[in-house]
Subunit: 153 residues, 2 copies
């Protein structure tokens, strides 16, 4: 096994032994160096966003002091869920290497597929989304775009 | 304007005045009480995941010491991106009220639509996803499911 994937598995194992969350670990590598490693901590922190991928993206961007992780590869023990996939895109990571598929993840009780199906409008959305159009948003956006000193990201 | 939405707009304004990130604010309410409020901090923390919604979900779950936010409503100044939408589902939030649409957000330069299109396979994915099947994932998942004391979430 690739040494970086092996590290991701060791992280996952550490996570379940500590009861931190699901059996998922991840590592971010840049230029052959590990710059972040972590595991799922949903239970440890009572944080539904604390997936392994989110944790290592935050760690890596903090370490590099960059909100774009160009040139980075993410090794993760399982296929990223829709939240983590979107975060990977926002982070501009180059490449993701994963082991278990989302079908295998579903078999052990994690409902990533439901969230994908909601996004694809294949199933009813249990969350009620209400659009409330407001003039205030035009004013706010204008204030933002009028500021020519703003950092565009 | 609804007082909670007004608070979300005040947060967004605070965020852009501080140069913390994009013009987005959010508030989480439970039983008529605000339990979390925040704004985009992508630039402040160099963190591509620091969208207003993610920040308030993490704050609220920490405050309530629960990884599920049942009974909560999220007020947010703009339609959540795919990362935040998935996080909202993982968090089991009941209801989301938003003002600006994703089309309006696109007009001021945020490419949520690109990420949605990638998820919907409407456009090429700039990130290379590589599946590397490994027996190790079966062993890890078995170790996880064999632990009958584990908390299922």
């Amino acid at each position: 096994m690739d040494k970086f994937m092996q590290m991701a598995f060791l992280e996952a194992e550490k996570g379940i032994e500590a009861g931190a969350g699901g059996p998922f670990g991840a590592v971010i590598v840049k230029d052959g160096e590990v710059i972040a490693s972590g595991h799922n901590e949903v239970l440890k922190h009572n944080d539904p966003t604390a997936h392994a991928e989110m944790i290592v993206i935050r760690q890596a961007s903090s370490a590099l002091q960059e909100y774009h992780l160009k040139g980075c590869t993410l090794y993760v023990t399982a296929e990223p869920c829709p939240m983590c996939s979107a975060a990977i895109h926002w982070a501009h990571i180059d490449k993701v290497v994963y082991a278990a598929t989302k079908e295998e993840v579903a078999e052990i009780g994690f409902d990533d597929a439901l969230i994908s199906d909601i996004a694809l409008h294949k199933t009813d959305d249990p969350v009620l989304f209400v659009h409330r159009p407001l003039l205030e948003s035009k004013r706010l956006f204008k204030k933002y775009t009028d500021d020519t000193d703003r950092i565009i990201y």
